[in-house]
Symmetry: C2
Subunit: 345 residues, 2 copies
């Protein structure tokens, strides 16, 4: 198996810089649409054969060094008992937002093999199919990020309701976050047991918090999950991605993760200076850079690789999910450029 | 006149820390709604008596140390010839997005006294009415931010079309930005001539750019405006607000502005260390903190004041616009706390 990705996560020497892309199993691929047209988004998450098929597509078509489970961070709160829908224009919607004690109390801490068994089935299927190819990354949303969707009822512009609960009902907020945290620990342990070889925790909305709110209301829950996973004895590298979190790095470097994911707003060498040795960095090309003419795209790739040399291990990635409008040939060119340029270094 | 705000902008000693709030003339005030119900948003911008009335409301009702012109950054591109509408749910919409050479060529560089005369009339009216009260801040959007609205046709999630033009048609992008820059220089000079006593340049979307894209595609235009204003000999302090721009501060400290505005993601003392002496800082309480019970809100105010002492001048503000759901009494309490706590220091 191509274990370059796992080695880089652990800061071990590699022949070239491994690369994968957030949302690599997704809408930019015509092959994805061919599977997707038979299901709703959530149905596809819950159909192991389909989820596994699209998970593998970018490995075969684009040449990435790791596969990431096709799923969604919101399957956890759905399994906790919050009815979820994905609307075509609006994105994810929780039909009954969680804003009071009764709603928080109603949420359960689901047994992942029972309520999220379809994810474990997908992972088991994928491990068989990927055996000789690349490692499989499992993932979950970090508790703060999951909480924002539950409280707001979907995406938000200013996260007013989330912050309102944090500020005016901190005990209730803590209860909700504790439940999400406990559910996520069980979920990620089950993913590792089913065969996930690395685990990424997505804190997609961490960047809407100032440093002191992050310290009080978000980071402790993410760290609790990462600590519990380490203590469980799994050898799966742990990746923590606090999106738009440049000013949170002085905290997130102590997350317990082996790897920190970074968006494109901070240069990797600046991040490496803040984070210090012993933690690998993952990132961070602006996804829109995949629109550039190949020679300029290659220059950008070279710059990210150069900046990434300051880190104790670098996994090349985009700074956010690949944009649906991206031509697959551009993604393939980027992956090839990462491999070629990093071998030369 | 209360000149504490102007003194703080210039880094001169003050008896207490001055404070104003972005969007202080806005929807959180019942008195604002009473005026607003007679007009569309854009009509109100274009009716000097109404715009002046709501501009003054927070001075009288909340006790802020500066008034900021009630207007919108998008009146400039509208005056350049791009038809603009504000939809109730969607926000600003440009009905004919600017995405090709023909569209860019059609835009004019408007004479501000002609095409934006209603703004100058509002400023002249306000200076009369504010004479013995507080200084008046004028403003405009920075060219990159204005360009995103023109290119995307409104707000955006990932600014794909803007970055596409930047990356694949840099000459066209440059032409567009040059036109916006020239228009904005004339506009802000006219505001100063009409009586605006400080000028703020809002780069609301700067934070979607990585450091190298900001250097190439956004910052030079903002700096060109600030430089032209300084060279015009105006004594109005210049404020540059690059929202979500923590990783851009090593550049924006050289903007030529007297004051840098900051959102709440970075602590003011950390920002002061990056910016160095000679530049005042403006900010940066999370607007949602206005939901906190008064004792905790006061603690937050005290923390921002404490961190602000590291800067060469501090103007207290929110890190973003005040949220419409904010109780006016909370805003008033905050202003009073800023004054009381900073006098004590």
């Amino acid at each position: 198996m191509n274990s370059t990705f796992l080695k880089a996560c652990r800061g071990e020497p590699v022949d070239y810089t491994p690369v994968w892309m957030m949302r690599q199993a997704g809408r930019y691929l015509p092959e994805y649409h061919r599977v997707r047209r038979n299901f709703t988004f959530l149905e596809m998450c819950k159909t192991p054969e389909a989820a596994a098929e699209v998970t593998i597509q970018p490995v075969d078509l684009i040449g990435v060094d790791a596969a990431i489970l096709f799923s969604d961070i919101l399957v956890v709160p759905e399994a906790m008992g919050a009815p979820l829908d994905f609307l075509e224009k609006q994105g994810p919607v929780f039909l009954a937002p969680v804003r009071d004690k009764a709603a928080v109390d109603k949420l359960i801490i689901p047994d992942p093999e029972d309520k999220l068994g379809y994810v474990m089935a997908t992972i088991r299927l994928l491990r068989k199919e990927l055996a000789t190819k690349v490692p499989l990354i499992g993932f979950a949303g970090a508790p703060f990020t999951i909480a924002t969707y539950l409280i707001e009822g979907g995406s938000s512009k200013n996260f007013f309701l989330t912050k309102k609960m944090m500020y005016t009902a901190p005990a209730l907020y803590g209860r909700l976050l504790d439940k999400i945290t406990a559910s996520t620990i069980l979920y990620l342990k089950a993913q590792a047991a089913a065969g996930a070889q690395a685990l990424q925790l997505f804190d997609s909305w961490a960047g809407v918090l100032g440093p002191s709110d992050f310290r009080e209301f978000a980071f402790p829950y993410a760290r609790r999950i990462l600590k519990a996973l380490k203590e469980s004895g799994t050898d799966a590298p742990l990746i923590y991605f606090a999106n738009n979190g440049a000013t949170l790095l002085t905290q997130s470097k102590d997350s317990g993760a082996d790897v920190l994911g970074l968006d494109w707003r901070i240069n990797l060498d600046d991040a490496a200076r803040i984070v210090g040795p012993g933690i690998a960095l993952q990132g961070n090309l602006d996804p829109c850079a995949l629109l550039l003419p190949p020679d300029q795209l290659e220059q950008r790739v070279a710059r990210v690789l150069e900046q990434g040399r300051a880190a104790s291990g670098h996994i090349f990635n985009l700074g956010h999910g690949i944009v649906p409008e991206t031509p697959p040939a551009q993604a393939k060119f980027m992956v090839e450029a990462v491999h070629r340029l990093s071998r030369r270094q």
